[in-house]
């Protein structure tokens, strides 16, 4: 359904990808654990590798959870609800992560 307006009513998105250059916004959700009260939003380069993304973007936040241990916590991942099994060197873009995508994980 469209807005009902008496004239032209077209405005650009204030969060469109081009405003972030080679980067994009990425959401990360740890399903089933409410220690982090809300899903996180990060800005990350599209070409960033999965391993870099975890180590330098996600884990610094998750280190606020005393029960989180990057070595031992086993997680299964999905991008926009489609399961992925990253090996680590792939870029976010090649894993299907788009602007404002939702990367979710669950205890495996």
């Amino acid at each position: 359904m469209a807005v009902r307006a008496i004239g032209e009513y077209t405005f650009p998105s204030r969060s469109r990808q081009e405003l972030y250059g080679d980067d994009q916004l990425v959401h990360v959700w740890w399903k089933g654990d409410l220690w982090f009260a809300a899903t996180a939003c990060f800005r990350a380069p599209k070409a960033m590798s999965w391993n870099d993304f975890l180590a330098n973007v996600v884990y610094p936040l998750w280190s606020c959870d005393p029960d989180f241990d990057a070595e031992t916590t086993k997680l299964s991942w999905a991008v926009d609800e489609t399961p992925i099994a990253p090996s680590g060197e792939e870029s976010l873009e090649s894993l299907g992560v788009g602007h404002k995508s939702l990367i979710s994980c669950q205890a495996a």
Binding site: A2, R4, L34, A37
Partner: protein, 330 residues
């Protein structure tokens, strides 16, 4: 975000002032008065008299619109559906204030919602409006339950470094009260989180969310709300509009977005703007400085200036003087 004067009247005069404002004014001002905050109480009573006039306008306006033409009924219904949900989302802040922030409790959010919304509106007003063909607001069933205030305060606790007010862990007596008020949810879902936060504090640490939250495109609140009927799973909704993905926190906000996406794509979402570099800089201190927050405005309550002031003001020797000196000319 309304489409003109008629929608505005239904938004403010009816959906907010008539349906929801008692939830704001009555418990809020009773809470202020009960806790000795007389300036807020005075302001509240003054605003309330204004508000009752708006309520009268709102009710007259909606009846007038409905009586003019039966074709107005579905239009007005959609405005009620939209503005009930937008107002309800805003009241999330009041819910945590009632349940978590008042040192002396007046009533729980759940009790207030039952009395001022379920009984007075769903049980009183909507049966009257049925005559015109108006139904209770869409998604109202997602507003009823035990979870709202806990989720909101838990979020404010961990984002307190940027909240412009202080938060702390509810003490044992307070948690006992919460357990009594919320027998089906507090001890199961929220007490374990506070226990874990308490362990950190006992070890000399304090939990802060060292990052930024995902925001809902419509209500702009962090994505903290859970699935209807499942308090353990955060609710995620999205829509693709002109090739771009937009995220919503609930069926209510998604319905509002999908109805008028052209409006909501323009939203100035603080987190997205911070990441564009429009809020002072890339780090948290840069952003807080840009928001003109001073050290001490935010963070943990225990040990804060607020906590010291509260103790000082409640020390008998600091009781207010009987009559302030009159100012010349008044």
């Amino acid at each position: 975000m309304s489409a003109g004067p008629f929608e505005f009247m239904i938004a403010i005069g009816f959906s907010f002032e008539y349906l929801l404002a008692n939830l704001l004014f009555v418990p809020f001002m009773s809470g202020a008065s009960f806790n000795g905050d007389l300036p807020t109480m005075t302001f509240g009573f003054s605003a309330q008299s204004d508000e009752s006039r708006h309520m009268t306008f709102g009710l007259e306006a909606i009846k007038f619109l409905l009586e003019q033409d039966p074709d107005n009924v579905p239009i007005v219904q959609e405005w009620i559906d939209k503005w009930f949900w937008r107002g309800y989302r805003l009241l999330a802040l009041v819910s945590q204030m009632l349940d978590y922030m008042l040192p002396r409790k007046v009533m729980s959010w759940k009790e207030s919602f039952e009395l001022y919304f379920e009984q007075q509106m769903l049980g009183g007003l909507f049966p009257d409006l049925e005559y015109y063909g108006i139904k209770p607001p869409r998604h109202v069933q997602h507003a009823i339950g035990e979870i709202l205030s806990h989720q909101v305060y838990w979020t404010l606790y961990q984002f307190s470094f940027a909240a412009a007010f202080n938060t702390t862990i509810p003490d044992a007596e307070h948690q006992q009260w919460l357990a009594e008020q919320y027998p089906e949810s507090f001890e199961t879902h929220y007490k374990p989180l506070w226990d874990k936060a308490r362990t950190l504090v006992d070890n000399g640490d304090r939990f802060f969310y060292l990052g930024l939250p995902q925001l809902c495109q419509v209500c702009q609140i962090p994505m903290l709300f859970t699935e209807p009927g499942d308090p353990t799973t955060l609710c995620q909704r999205h829509s693709i509009y002109e090739g771009e993905r937009y995220v919503m926190c609930s069926d209510g906000c998604k319905w509002i977005f999908d109805r008028e996406p052209e409006k909501y794509v323009q939203a100035w979402l603080p987190v997205h703007q911070i990441y564009q570099g429009n809020c002072g800089g890339p780090t948290v201190p840069d952003v807080l400085a840009w928001y003109q927050l001073e050290p001490g405005d935010s963070g943990e309550y225990v040990g804060s200036q607020e906590a010291q002031d509260w103790v000082t003001w409640h020390t008998p020797s600091h009781a207010p003087q009987a009559s302030p000196t009159p100012v010349a000319g008044n």
